[in-house]
């Protein structure tokens, strides 16, 4: 077991060799103040392949949204300061681009869908205008051409009677329809990478199912790589190829979706799964994760989950855990991973 794990570790760093890497984030570290001892995002690394979906999972404040905003170049700096790391996208480091270069990428090669479709659409303009705006900005088409393109996009996201909806204002559409418009807008310039931040959280479940289906179909049609940010493990199971679980600014576990769900290794991941009620027959009380996320200043030097972890000891508090490879592309940042093997040492 140990030897094969070692062999896998050596073979691991080039999982993108056969498939096309769209984005590669390495050691991304960010803080919101010059002097802070602890970083808000601390050493985050992940990659996204063409046509695949990476799900960033975590609870509020874990840094998943900040990560996506940083990739989009949407964080004001100052106060945000990227302290280390890079994000390679098509041979360029996203963190090293000028404002002008970022503006050229945004809505073009990288697009984003936000959680709240009502607040992310401008209520004063028709949706046709808003979709066409991005097309004209990046593809330099005429107004009429851009409008025709906008119509095509509305049809692609299956908005019924698309032609008449071009001149509708956002308030005239339902929540699900608005989210379709957001998706149409995001995809209008055929982005290589789509970042969706909780795209279905504000929607009812029957509408959520429609939108998830749509996202999947469009991804198959266009081969867009996607980063989907969510806290809903059901959504993750349904759309993810690869999953990264974040806690307090670090990725604590990541791996292929089947590995994460069938062989979760980090105590936080295990606690998280235990916290969600299932649709099957009741199986006693829910497991819980004790306490809550401590404020950044009080975060331990070592593993940030250690104050809430049932397995933690003094080493966990003091030293940042390694991230051993536990399966194909599957890593967990824990001193006690793999759990069953290492627990003997606890007693």
């Amino acid at each position: 077991m140990n030897e094969s794990a070692l062999a896998r570790e050596q073979a691991a760093p080039a999982p993108g060799s056969s498939s096309e890497l769209v984005l590669q984030v390495e050691d991304f570290t960010l803080s919101f103040s010059e002097t802070a001892e602890k970083n808000l995002i601390d050493g985050v690394s992940f990659q996204v392949e063409r046509g695949k979906t990476l799900c960033l999972v975590g609870e509020s404040g874990c840094g998943k949204s900040v990560t996506s905003l940083a990739l989009m170049g949407l964080l004001a700096s100052p106060p945000a300061r990227i302290r280390r790391g890079r994000a390679m996208f098509g041979g360029r480091d996203l963190f090293a681009l000028s404002e002008r270069e970022k503006a050229d990428l945004r809505g073009n090669e990288i697009a984003m869908i936000f959680q709240e479709p009502m607040t992310s659409l401008n209520p004063a303009f028709t949706i046709g205008h808003q979709i066409a705006e991005g097309i004209m900005r990046h593809r330099h088409l005429s107004k009429a051409e851009a409008r025709a393109e906008a119509l095509k996009m509305l049809q692609m996201v299956r908005i019924p009677a698309a032609e008449s909806r071009l001149d509708a204002y956002p308030h005239q559409l339902s929540g699900g329809m608005r989210q379709r418009v957001m998706i149409a807008m995001a995809l209008a310039n055929r982005p290589k990478l789509l970042i969706a931040d909780e795209p279905t959280t504000a929607l009812d479940v029957t509408i959520q199912a429609q939108i998830l289906n749509l996202i999947r179909q469009i991804q198959e049609e266009t081969g867009t790589a996607m980063i989907l940010i969510t806290h809903d493990l059901g959504v993750v199971a349904e759309v993810a190829d690869h999953v990264a679980v974040m806690y307090a600014g670090r990725i604590v576990e990541q791996g292929p979706v089947d590995e994460i769900f069938n062989d979760p290794q980090h105590p936080y991941t295990i606690g998280l799964f235990g916290s969600i009620p299932t649709l099957g027959r009741r199986q006693g009380r829910l497991a819980t994760i004790k306490g809550s996320v401590p404020p950044l200043e009080l975060m331990p030097k070592g593993c940030r989950f250690s104050p809430r972890c049932p397995f933690s000891d003094s080493r966990c508090h003091e030293q940042v855990p390694p991230s051993p490879l536990l399966g194909p592309n599957h890593r967990a940042a824990c001193w006690y991973a793999p759990l069953e093997q290492k627990l003997g040492a606890l007693q």
Binding site: H231, V236, A237, E238, D263, P264, I270, L279, K290
Partner: protein, 367 residues
Amino acid sequence: MSNSAEQTPIIEGRNLVKRFGGKKGLFQSAPTVHAVNNVSLSVMPGETFAIVGESGCGKSTLARLLLRLIEPTEGSVIYQGRDITKLPAAEMRALRREMQIIFQDPFASLNPRMTIGSIIAEPIRLHGLAKGKDVDKRVAELLQVVGLRPEYASRYPHEFSGGQRQRIGVARALAGEPKLIIGDEPVSALDVSIQAQVINLLEDLKEQFGLTLIIVAHDLAVIRHMSDRVAVMYLGEVVELAPVDPLYETPLHPYTQTLLDAIPVPVPGGKEKRALARGDIPSPTNPPPGCRFHTRCPFAVQKCREVHPELEDVGGGRHVACHLWREIQEREHPTAPVDRSSENLTQRLEIYRAYQAKRDKSPATVE
């Protein structure tokens, strides 16, 4: 609890109707919203009853009608066998001690200018349950009951996290020593790990104080976990009402089936294909005639467009409002959603719980 007490529902709604709006303005009249349409249900003492549905289905309105926080347009509310629909304000106020509500948004439901202590003490003083020093003692006690430190009494709501605020809301609801607590989406604003803590807390308190719980929620997994019976609402009407296990295992109404089918389950590959509900939920200002679900129902026939189906008793405590439910059951055999967690997870959760329990016992625990 005596047998006869068990026969009387703790709270009952009879033919409740609530319409909003419809007022004539200067230039136009406001549209009438048919929020709740002829809903009857009864909740037995000691049970956890859930009301589930998507936004705009009238579930929160129904909960507020039961507490008489809003007045019904038609119908009546019976509390412990007594019609309270026309109860004068003073008597109603006295009764409110026994019926409490926990709101969804712990950020909006606590007065930011009051300390936690005074928020919790308010109902105690109002109902004269304690005086002087005893009030503080009772507040401290309640804070401990919901898992917060008694010292927190002097702090303000903004100093607390969402989960802690929801605990404060629960403590306040408990302060009046209620018999019935309605939770209006009590955990939906919380993170998963915090949600689990609050769910466990509510269950413990229910046990400890012999409460009856009515949970209004849209999260079907939370409802399955917590409740004994469930009413499924669609556009202001109850379309199915049943004990929790049969409802989830053999849902009878096409809407219940759609709803269960639409939830993503945390099992990769657990869902291959799904029958999507077509279109959007119609506006409650203009509900469709006949069966209100017919515009989205995959089985709808002419009759569904014309004749309104009544909620019929089909045995085993189950009720369904659908013309076609028998045929659908025979023809389609709709199956319960897949839900299995991996062996590894089950095993590790056991270890996790065991270590957690061990740590709970040791005195040197943090928090």
